[in-house]
């Protein structure tokens, strides 16, 4: 059988074996003890030709409802946004996608400069001094922020708002267990972090308070008030997880004195892909620069004085510090950071603001339509592009119905929060037309009415 990725010919093989001085390739594997040698072929599927395999996989792909076949009102951390065509064209350039970490700056200036630009755009959006080159995703970035805050303050208590994405909170819990951190949850009240409860929890052992802005319910947390509570303790840090698109409209966390801002840039040019890969970002004040996890690109000069870029402050990282490293991250999400850079460049200063504005306007419209149809929108604070509807009906049954009408319905909050059974988190992005919103609202209202 022939394999198109394997160029070895019989003649090559003969010449190479002869040069090495062995009879056959088996000899090269003779150090594997016979007891563990696999003598039967692997019991995996037999190969298929390129055409057959593509057809088979297209068959699998076609079995999925997608955000192309259906209009999606589902968000909860992953959104259907405008992806400029140029994004895929740029990331399909194989000089980018078939390269690895730019260890050799002389032949990696392209990647390095692109990352430097990414770091700049993230710092700009979040209002922070510096940003790194990427993290796996928003959830693990938040866990790394918790770890950093504990290391920096030498305190072990981390207060996490219940209005932070539930899966991110679970990831923080998992990392916290490894790090022996005390993870404390501050409850939500009317869709926002309960400030009174927060005040009671913040004490001299608190390393950081973790808030999402806008939060998991789409609501805009009062960061100024939260910062005041945190300031009752001199060392406690404010960690904010932010949808970077929302920061096209909202005052950035940096302006409220955030110490660390993290999140996911999926909103900029990265398709949902059933949950990954997306792209975490990690921004901080200049003071924390030497404690950041992950790779950092810095500007410098070459021997002739030409501007260039290099991986820098590597003394923080696992390959140098080993067990003393602040994080174990090695491979990151560079290609997706590039995708987001291209999307952010295309949108640019004006487009990011305009796109954020479209999201807010459409979500406001949706709220009015829902209320006009007698549906209950539960939280009343300012929100970005997500809102919560309470229905009397079974949320999952409603979503089943919506799929038959060409919609992907919202996220059932009762999945992870008993207080929010049959509450649905609905996202409205710039991709949704007035007609889709109107029809969606009518469908939800019709199902709702049937229950009464």
């Amino acid at each position: 059988m022939e394999f198109r990725y394997l160029p070895m010919t019989e003649q090559d093989k003969e010449e190479m074996l002869q040069m090495i001085g062995v009879e056959d390739t088996e000899e090269l594997f003779s150090d594997i003890p016979e007891e563990v040698r696999l003598r039967a072929p692997l019991g995996i599927k037999e190969p298929k030709s390129e055409g057959e395999l593509k057809a088979e996989l297209a068959g699998l792909a076609n079995r999925n409802v997608t955000m192309k076949t259906h209009a999606s009102f589902l968000g909860a951390g992953v959104y259907d946004h405008y992806i400029p065509s140029i994004v895929d064209h740029v990331i399909s350039r194989s000089e980018f996608y078939t390269a690895y970490t730019p260890y050799q700056p002389e032949i990696s200036q392209g990647e390095l400069q692109a990352i430097f630009e990414f770091q700049t755009m993230i710092a700009e959006l979040t209002g922070m001094d510096v940003a790194n080159s990427s993290m796996y995703d928003g959830g693990t970035a938040l866990a790394e922020a918790a770890t950093l805050s504990a290391g920096h303050t030498k305190k072990r208590k981390i207060i996490v708002s219940e209005a932070v994405h539930p899966e991110s909170r679970q990831v923080i819990d998992s990392y916290g267990r490894g790090q022996h951190l005390e993870i404390v949850t501050v409850p939500h009240k009317e869709g926002l972090t309960d400030l009174q409860a927060l005040e009671e929890l913040v004490d001299e052992n608190t390393a950081s308070v973790i808030i999402q802005y806008p939060n998991f319910f789409g609501q805009v947390e009062p960061l100024a008030d939260i910062r005041k509570i945190i300031d009752t303790q001199p060392k406690t840090m404010m960690v904010v997880s932010s949808n970077p698109l929302a920061l096209g409209y909202l005052t950035p966390p940096g302006s409220f004195g955030a110490d660390i801002v993290v999140g996911d840039t999926q909103v900029f040019g990265i398709p949902a892909q059933f949950g990954g890969p997306h792209c975490g970002y990690f921004a901080s004040t200049a003071k924390l620069m030497r404690k950041l996890p992950g790779r950092l690109v810095g500007q410098t000069k070459d021997e002739e004085g030409r501007r260039g870029f290099v991986l820098t402050l590597q003394a923080r990282e696992q390959h140098i510090r080993r067990d003393k490293a602040t994080s174990n991250i090695c491979s990151n999400q560079a290609l997706n950071a590039l995708a987001s850079s291209v999307a952010m460049s295309a949108l640019g200063k004006k487009g990011v603001a305009e796109m954020a504005h479209l999201n807010i306007q459409k979500a406001q419209y949706m709220k009015k339509q829902l209320e006009a149809h007698g549906l209950q929108v539960v939280f009343q604070g300012a929100f970005f592009n997500e809102l919560v509807i309470k229905i009397d009906d079974d949320a999952d049954a409603l979503n089943d119905h919506l799929v038959t009408q060409g919609f992907i319905g919202g996220y059932h909050l009762g999945r992870t929060d008993d207080r929010l059974k049959n509450h649905i988190l609905v996202a409205v992005t710039e991709q949704r037309t007035k007609e889709q919103i109107d029809t969606f609202v009518r469908e939800v209202a019709a199902v709702h009415a049937k229950q009464h």
Binding site: P7, M19, I20, T25, L28, D31, P41, L42, I44, K48, L53, E56, L60, A61, N64, M67, S72, G77, V78, Y82, H89, S94, F96, Y97, Y103, Q104, E106, Q113, E117, T120, H165, V171, G178, V220, T251, P252, A272, F274, Q299, T300, R307, G308, Q318, H319, I320, R322, D323, K324, N328, C330, N332, L335, G348, K349, K350, A353, I360, A382, D400, E430
Partner: protein, 487 residues
């Protein structure tokens, strides 16, 4: 002299008012947002993002791409990273709408195609590794290491063995191994290598004990050498009550020849972005699935993808699970590519991958040993490590030789790793390279070795042909400039 304006940053090309996007007009009645948001929460100054036309952006990134080097550009023998060919069908498959545009929270009944693929990938990886169960959750190798160690920790805790606080790593281990141990709350202990480049069994016997949680090992190890005493090592660790962890970065050497599960490993992680052709993307994204023995299966991260009746489900009901390690279900996009690759190669194909990866490496190693010190003389597996100490005596360092390779259009090998070889050059050709390519690279290396003797300046001052010369890394670290700031 070239100056900054030859390769300006996006921000330096900006002209206020220029745009490169296309958004739909607002088609709903406008709400007065000053009544919705408190003024303090409305951004007063826009983020300084670029203002460019679409063509300007494309030219910018095209120019950057030409200042970059990938596997498609040329030979990339970066040891430990398995820079093999990234098949183009993989890229086509992940771009199918039915994979690209599926939301992780849509009803699993409406994502059965995606779940079926994940389930079947788990099945294929179980067979390739000989493990009992596989989870596709971890985002990369290091994330898999941490996940695996957290499971080992949970098992020991469940057994009441909380005194098992130490993870043993060989001195040749990759930096992520000890770092992951720390992040998982363990202390690392180093075990020495012997003069054959293998774990020193006596030292291993000395360091194991009641406090051993696990031994982390890659086999073949980072010197490219197979730990032939693996069964004895497994016995030593297991008898002491520890677990054996397999760092799968080097699986490309042994597919179809042996399996971590059969060697006695309790947990493995794989790097799908290495062995299974996920493109390296300039640094990521990767995918680092973990496989476990039956004893550890209950601790796998949530959710588990499994068959239930006629459906594939996402099972969250796992009381002993270490919890969630990542939002959603792993780097699905990379997993789709890996699946496509496995289905392209099949059992015979994957075995030939390892056969040729090993043959290529041994061929290069023997030919290069003519001019370079070979610290360990036995057959290697998919990669090998040379030492540049002979050249160092002539005043030519490994770094210089790596830079000189750039002049010939090659990506250099991994250098100064593993740490237990002086002036290390770690070379991994992979199976997708033709003999002609290997021969030209070898000839170049031999020429560089000859220059080191006769004409050292040309090597010491390299590179001579790249778009920039060596960078001032000291200043970069001393006075870090990590973002553009307008003058």
């Amino acid at each position: 002299m070239q100056n900054n304006t030859d390769f300006p940053l996006l921000f330096e090309q900006t002209k206020p008012g220029r745009t490169g996007y296309s958004l739909p007009p607002l088609d709903v009645p406008e709400t007065d947002l000053s009544e919705v948001f408190e003024s303090d929460y409305i951004r007063s100054e826009q983020a300084e993002l670029p203002e460019l036309s679409e063509l300007q952006i494309i030219r910018h990134y095209t120019a950057l791409s030409r200042r970059n080097y990938g596997v498609d550009s040329g030979f990339y023998p970066l040891g430990s990273c398995t820079m093999k060919y990234n098949p183009k069908i993989n890229e086509d498959v992940i771009r199918m709408d039915g994979f690209s545009h599926v939301h992780p929270y849509q009803d699993p009944k409406t994502a059965q195609g995606a779940l079926e693929l994940m389930f079947d990938l788990q099945e294929q990886l179980k067979e390739i590794t000989g493990m009992h169960e596989v989870s596709l959750q971890p985002a990369a190798g290091a994330h898999g290491e941490w996940t695996g160690l957290m499971m080992i920790r949970a098992l020991h805790e469940k057994n009441g063995e909380t005194q098992r606080t130490k993870v043993i790593v060989p001195d040749s281990a990759h930096g992520t191994n000890p770092a992951s141990a720390t992040v998982a709350g363990f202390e690392s202990v180093t075990v020495k290598s012997n003069e054959q480049g293998l774990v020193d069994l006596d030292d291993l016997r000395r360091v194991v004990g009641e406090d051993t949680a696990a031994l982390m090992l890659t086999n073949p190890n980072t010197l490219g050498l197979f730990e032939k005493d693996i069964l004895e090592m497994a016995k030593i660790v297991h008898e002491a009550g520890g677990k054996l962890y397999y760092d799968g970065a080097n699986l490309n050497a042994i597919m179809g020849y042996t399996r971590p599960g059969d060697m006695g490993f309790d947990v493995v992680h794989l790097n799908l972005h290495k062995t299974f052709t996920g493109p390296h993307g300039g640094g990521g994204p990767g995918s680092g699935p973990v496989g476990v023995s039956e004893e550890l299966a209950a601790f796998l991260p949530k959710p588990i993808v499994r068959r239930s009746g006629g459906e594939i489900i996402l099972d969250e009901d796992r009381p002993d699970s270490i919890g969630r390690v990542k939002p959603y279900y792993g780097n699905f996009g990379i997993n789709v590519r890996a699946y496509t690759y496995i289905r392209t190669m099949g059992p015979e194909g994957l075995k030939r991958v390892s056969e040729y990866a090993v043959l290529n490496a041994n061929y290069m190693m023997r030919r290069l040993s003519e001019a370079f010190d070979l610290p360990y003389a036995q057959h290697c597996k998919h990669e090998f490590v040379l030492s540049g100490r002979r050249q160092k005596k002539l005043g030519v360092r490994t770094l210089d030789m790596a830079k000189r390779l750039l002049d010939f259009g090659y990506h250099p090998p991994t250098i100064y790793f593993p740490l237990n070889v002086e002036e290390a050059l770690m070379i991994e050709p992979t199976e997708t390279e033709a003999k002609e390519t290997l021969d030209s690279f070898i000839d170049t290396m031999l020429e560089i070795a000859a220059d080191a003797e006769q004409n050292p300046e040309i090597v010491q001052e390299a590179p001579h042909t790249t778009v920039v010369s060596r960078m001032d890394e000291t200043t970069a670290a001393r006075k870090p400039i990590l973002r553009y700031i307008p003058e």
